[in-house]
Each structure stands twice: as structure tokens, then as C-alpha cells.
């Protein structure tokens, strides 16, 4: 049994072990992917490509970071895609139709995320529902809610240049003609903060512990439902942030939309080494995994792959990522 756990020279290298084999592989794949697109498409080799990759990275990274916490507890949050649209619609509705100050719109957007996250968390931890089912139901609810509040109309957050358009500069700032992806800074800062939260604080530690062995965690005197709920609250909070990122990077949100985006985020997290079985996962891995998703999303249209093929490719990527995770867990057991 012990022999099986010892890897080869490569996997036992202290640096490799500190970073994690999977992350190194992901970085290599990422580089390969970027090189591939660079070779196949001239337009990929421009600075502006970074900007558009970043546009996809912001919201996916936020969603991914949030859902990583749910995955680490051994659960999942399917409501994030639809939820993101729903919260952005509610916030935007307040700003556009009710003429609320932008800051109120932002706060309400995040608050909606927090509330929905709390509901998810309570249903899962106290109600004992299977996470995927509970969040599927809240996904349906979020879907309806966004449409009802806006009366079915799509919403555009204040555009750049308009008096309230400053939200857009939060993520992309114009510095003398060159646009800088300022949002990446926020993603990085939050990634660092959440990494510290996950690895260096008690709640983070307990979230990992719950995913690793719920019963042992309970026996260690830890209030499992509280920390399990917390994971979903974090997911909800980040969904709120993602809603801001999405609405400032893109123009309009359609009510009832957003379904399917959660798969990109969950896929990113799994590619980054977060296990569907819980207990293990890193924020850095998720960010890397999300990059693979966003590079694919930005790159595939550039090499003239039509949209319908993109869906198939992402579906296959997802299955492969999950299968690798299953194999990994089998090896550990």
C-alpha cells in the first residue's frame, strides 16, 4: 500500500510537490494552447487578444474561485451561471429603471449573491439536500427571478463614457490610448486573499476538513453546518462579483440566460486540480484552469471554429477533466 503512494523521481521532487503535478501539467497545456493559437492565427498574436482573454477570465475566475470552495467541501454549486445573470439584472435594473446610485446597484448585486449563497448553503447543510439538486432548484428560481424583476427585458449597465459608466473602468482602464486589464489585478488580489483564506484561516481549514472527512471533522468538535454553509456563501459572494465583472465587460444581460456558464467555471476548477470528491483544491489551480477555458473561448473563434463545434470541444474537455479526477481518486483510495 505504501509503495503505491510513492511516485517517481519527478513527482517526488520537492518543487514539483510544492506546486502540484497537475498545476504544472496545466501550465504546460496552457502554454501549448497559446502557442497553438499563435501559430494558427495571426490575430491571436496581438496585445488586444490579452484584453479579450481577460474579459472572459474575470467572471469565470470569480465564479471558479467561488465554486472551488463548494467543490472542496465535496459539493457543487450549479446556480452560479444563472445566478450571475440574475444578480446583474437586478443591480442593473435598480440603476437604469429606478435610478439608484451605481454604488447601490453594485451592493445589491453582491448582496443578492450572498443571499442566494446562504440559501444554498442552508438547504445543503441543514436540509441535507444533495448539493447538485439543491443548487439546481435555486438555479431555476434565479432564472425566473431575473426575468420577473426586469419584466423580461434585457439590461445594459451604464456604458463607458456615460456619467455612471465608471464601473467599466474598474476592470479596464484607458491609459493614454492603451487599455490596461485592470481587472486582472483584482483577480490576482482576490486569488491571493482567498488562497490565504483557504489555507491560513480556520474557516478555510475547516472547509477542507469537511471535504476530506466530514465525520472526523464533526468529531473534532467543529460546527460542520456552519462551515459548509460558508462555502456556499462564498460561492454566492463571488457570483455577485462575477456579475459585476460580466456586466462591465459585456453589454447586455438577457433574463433567463447564463445557464451553461457554470460548466465552464466548474470545468476550470476541475482542470486546475480541484477534486469532485472534495478535500483538495487550490485557488491558483482554479485560476489556471479558468485560463484554459478563457483561452479556448477567445481562441477558437479566431481559428474559425464555428460556435457549435466550440460547445462540443468544451463538452469533451469537461469529460476528460472529470475522468482524470476519477482516476486520480481511484489511485489514492
Amino acid at each position: 500500500m505504501t509503495d503505491k503512494k510513492q511516485g517517481n523521481a519527478f513527482t517526488n521532487n520537492p518543487i514539483v510537490r510544492a506546486v502540484g503535478v497537475q498545476k504544472i501539467v496545466v501550465v504546460i497545456v496552457l502554454i501549448a494552447l497559446v502557442l497553438f493559437f499563435c501559430v494558427k492565427s495571426t490575430s491571436f498574436r496581438q496585445y488586444t487578444t490579452i484584453l479579450s482573454i481577460m474579459d472572459y477570465t474575470y467572471y469565470l475566475a470569480f465564479l471558479g474561485m467561488g465554486v472551488t470552495f463548494c467543490l472542496i467541501t465535496g459539493g457543487v454549486d450549479l446556480s452560479i451561471g444563472t445566478g450571475m445573470f440574475c444578480y446583474a439584472l437586478i443591480g442593473g435594473y435598480l440603476i437604469n429603471q429606478k435610478h439608484a446610485p451605481v454604488i447601490v446597484g453594485i451592493l445589491v448585486t453582491i448582496l443578492c449573491g450572498l443571499i442566494m449563497g446562504t440559501i444554498n448553503g442552508l438547504i445543503v447543510s441543514k436540509g441535507g439536500h444533495a448539493p447538485f439538486l439543491a443548487t439546481l432548484c435555486t438555479m431555476m428560481i434565479a432564472r425566473g427571478l431575473g426575468s420577473i424583476i426586469t419584466g423580461g427585458a434585457s439590461i445594459t449597465w451604464p456604458v463607458a463614457g456615460s456619467p455612471n459608466g465608471w464601473t467599466r473602468t474598474l476592470f479596464k482602464i484607458d491609459m493614454g490610448g492603451t487599455k490596461l486589464p485592470l481587472g486582472f489585478l483584482w483577480v490576482l488580489i482576490l486569488a491571493v486573499v482567498m488562497s490565504i483564506f483557504l489555507n491560513k484561516t480556520r474557516p478555510g481549514r475547516y472547509i477542507i476538513a469537511i471535504g476530506s472527512n466530514k465525520e472526523a471533522t464533526r468529531l473534532s468538535g467543529i460546527n460542520v453546518p456552519v462551515y459548509q454553509t460558508l462555502a456556499y456563501v462564498i460561492s454566492g459572494f463571488f457570483t455577485g462579483l462575477a456579475a459585476l465583472a460580466y456586466s462591465s465587460a459585456f453589454q447586455s444581460m438577457t433574463p433567463g440566460g447564463g445557464g451553461g456558464i457554470e460548466l465552464n467555471a466548474i470545468g476550470g476548477a476541475i482542470i486546475g486540480g480541484t477534486s469532485m470528491n472534495g478535500g483538495s483544491g487550490t485557488i491558483a489551480g482554479t485560476i489556471l484552469g479558468v485560463f484554459i477555458m478563457s483561452v479556448l473561448q477567445a481562441g477558437l473563434p479566431l481559428i474559425n471554429i464555428q460556435a457549435n463545434w466550440q460547445q462540443i470541444i468544451i463538452g469533451v474537455v469537461l469529460i476528460v477533466a472529470v475522468y482524470i479526477d476519477v482516476l486520480k481518486n481511484k489511485k489514492l483510495a
Binding site: 432548484c137 431555476m140 428560481i141 420577473i148 457549435n308 460547445q311 462540443i312 463538452g315 475522468y323 476519477v326
Partner: protein, 333 residues
């Protein structure tokens, strides 16, 4: 209460189904009363409304019947809606653009569903992937394949008077101003066959037992992987059949859609008393659950509301029903 439950007739039909039946009737009465109150000049009670609610129930019913088998094994299938669309697109494309005979196309339609079922089943039972993420990935594959196959064009199945329009008789036959709901008859026949498969055949027996205690079944020398795969195959095949009723009602199918159908089909199944943890399934319950959902939709529309309310209501109902199921289960243990 106990007395009612012990009654022979009640036992035969199943207490749960009876309760559901009452709920359905209550709902009908509620809509009949509320509709004129909320919307002036509107009424709910008419043969036409009943038929239109039923038409919605046909394809949803077949989807629900199929997913009942998968849920009975303790799994889930989120790909049924897109698979139904994909099947309708591929076979419809052959029918209209290539001029293949109707009978062949109907067969293709069903086989496409079967193929997706097999794909899901093999990944879940043989490769050991979690069913919800597998089926979500194949949902993307189904959407993508449907678009690729039809070159993203919508496919309009023939009108009733056109050649190859015979399939419409599956849904209803016009006879002297009245419409005979053949779909209802077929749905009931389908449900009876499903009930027989589930309760009277080896497949159904093992599917239910796998959902209840997979390991005990395996240790009885039963090929659990085979039977589990079969559940997904049945589910896919029924999704293929559902496609016929979908086009029979709606004529035109668009590529890249169908995920909203999943939630409602699963909701119908769960409402009917099929337990999400597996092992317990009721075909009769599923049938009534689907009818309730169809009624709900018709009622919401009759009162002049947008469709969004249905999402919220369905989500809430599923949560409550699953919660009740968990509660009663916990109490028993």
C-alpha cells in the same frame, strides 16, 4: 389515515399517487377559480385548455418517464432535453432536406436518443464518472452536434397535409372539429410499458435494487454495470420518442436548445415520488407529476403571466418534495 392507507384499492394505486391526484384536482379547481379573478374575461375551464395542457405533457411525459429510470438507479440525467432536440434535428433534417421516408426518420430519431443514453450509461457505470457532470457534458455535446448536423438551421417537420406529415397523428387527430388526443393515449401506453419494465422485468428489478443497494446487488452476482447502463439507454430512447411528440406539437426545432426541459422533466419525476437517492420510483407518480407541471404552465398562461413564474414555482416544489422525502426517510431510520 392508517385506515385509508391499508385499504386494498388505495394500496393498489399507491397512496402517494392518490395524494398527487388530489393535488392535481385541487390545482385545477384553484386555477378555475383564480383565472377569472386575475384576468378579466378569462376562463380556465374548457376542453381546448385541457388539450393544450395535455399537449405540453406529452413530450415532457416521455422525458420524465425516461429519467425516472435513471433516478431510480440513484443517478441523474441532465442531457435529456438537448438530446430530444438533437434527435428531432438530425432525423428532421433527413426527413426534410434529404427526403428520407418518415418511418426511417422516426427510427433514426429514437436511435439518436438511444445512442446518447448508451454514451452516458457507459461513462457513468463503466468509467465511474459522476452522473450529473457527465450528463451536463453530454448536454453540451448534444447541443453542439445538433447544430453541426443541421448547419445551425432550424428544422421544420412537415405540416399534417404535406407528405410525411403523418407523424402529427401521434399527438392528435382532428375529427369533425374535435381533436382526439392520441398523444394522451400513447403517453398512457408508454407509461404502462414503462411500469411493466420497472416492476415486472429483470431490468426494472435490478435497476431499482441498484438504486437501493448497489453493493448488495453486485455481491449477488449481478452485472450491475450492465443494468445501470440500460437505465440510461432506456432514458435516452424515451428522449428520442419525446422528440416526435415535441415536433408533433411545435413543428419546428432550433439547434442549441433544450436545457430548460431537463429541469421540468426531473421535477415531474421527483414530484411523482421517485426518490433522488434511488431505489424508489413510481411511473404513475411521474405521469401525474408531469400533468401537474403541464397544468401549472397552462394555468400561469391563462392568468396572463409570463412564463418565468413557472421556473420559480417548479424549483420550489422540487425542493419541498425532496425535503419531505428526506424527512420521512430519516424518520424511518
Amino acid at each position: 389515515m392508517e385506515k385509508i392507507k391499508q385499504n386494498a384499492i388505495v394500496k393498489k394505486i399507491g397512496f402517494n399517487s392518490l395524494v398527487l391526484l388530489c393535488v392535481m384536482i385541487l390545482l385545477y379547481i384553484m386555477f378555475a377559480v383564480l383565472t377569472p379573478m386575475i384576468k378579466t374575461n378569462a376562463s380556465f375551464v374548457s376542453y381546448a385548455r385541457l388539450v393544450s395542457a395535455l399537449k405540453y405533457a406529452y413530450f415532457l411525459g416521455f422525458l420524465s418517464l425516461g429519467v425516472t429510470f435513471v433516478i431510480a438507479t440513484g443517478g441523474i440525467d441532465f442531457s435529456i432535453g438537448p438530446v430530444m432536440f438533437c434527435a428531432a434535428l438530425i432525423s428532421g433534417y433527413q426527413l426534410t432536406s434529404r427526403g428520407w421516408p418518415l418511418a426511417v426518420c422516426i427510427l433514426i430519431c429514437i436511435l439518436v436518443g438511444t445512442a446518447f443514453g448508451l454514451f452516458n450509461g457507459v461513462l457513468v457505470s463503466y468509467a465511474g464518472l459522476p452522473s450529473f457532470i457527465t450528463s451536463m457534458a453530454s448536454m453540451m455535446l448534444a447541443k453542439g452536434l445538433g447544430s453541426v448536423f443541421t448547419k445551425t438551421q432550424p428544422v421544420s417537420w412537415p405540416q399534417s397535409e404535406e407528405p410525411g406529415g403523418w407523424y402529427r397523428n401521434l399527438v392528435g387527430i382532428k375529427a369533425g372539429g374535435m381533436e382526439i388526443p392520441t398523444g394522451l393515449i400513447l403517453l398512457i401506453i408508454g407509461a404502462i410499458i414503462c411500469a411493466i419494465i420497472l416492476n415486472k422485468t429483470m431490468a426494472g428489478r435490478y435497476i431499482l435494487c441498484i438504486g437501493s443497494n448497489r453493493e448488495a446487488v453486485r455481491l449477488s452476482g449481478v452485472n450491475t454495470k450492465k443494468w445501470e447502463t440500460l437505465a440510461y439507454v432506456i432514458c435516452g430512447t424515451l428522449a428520442g420518442m419525446a422528440a416526435l411528440f415535441y415536433v408533433g406539437k411545435n413543428t419546428t426545432v432550433l439547434p442549441g436548445l433544450g436545457d430548460t426541459m431537463n429541469n421540468e422533466a426531473i421535477a415531474g419525476c421527483v414530484m411523482g415520488g421517485t426518490s433522488m437517492t434511488g431505489g424508489v420510483a413510481s411511473i404513475g407518480g411521474t405521469l401525474i407529476g408531469v400533468l401537474i407541471i403541464a397544468l401549472l404552465q397552462e394555468g400561469i398562461m391563462a392568468m396572463g403571466f409570463q412564463i418565468h413564474y413557472q421556473y420559480i414555482i417548479t424549483g420550489l416544489i422540487v425542493l419541498v418534495v425532496v425535503w419531505a422525502d428526506l424527512r420521512s426517510r430519516r424518520r424511518r431510520n
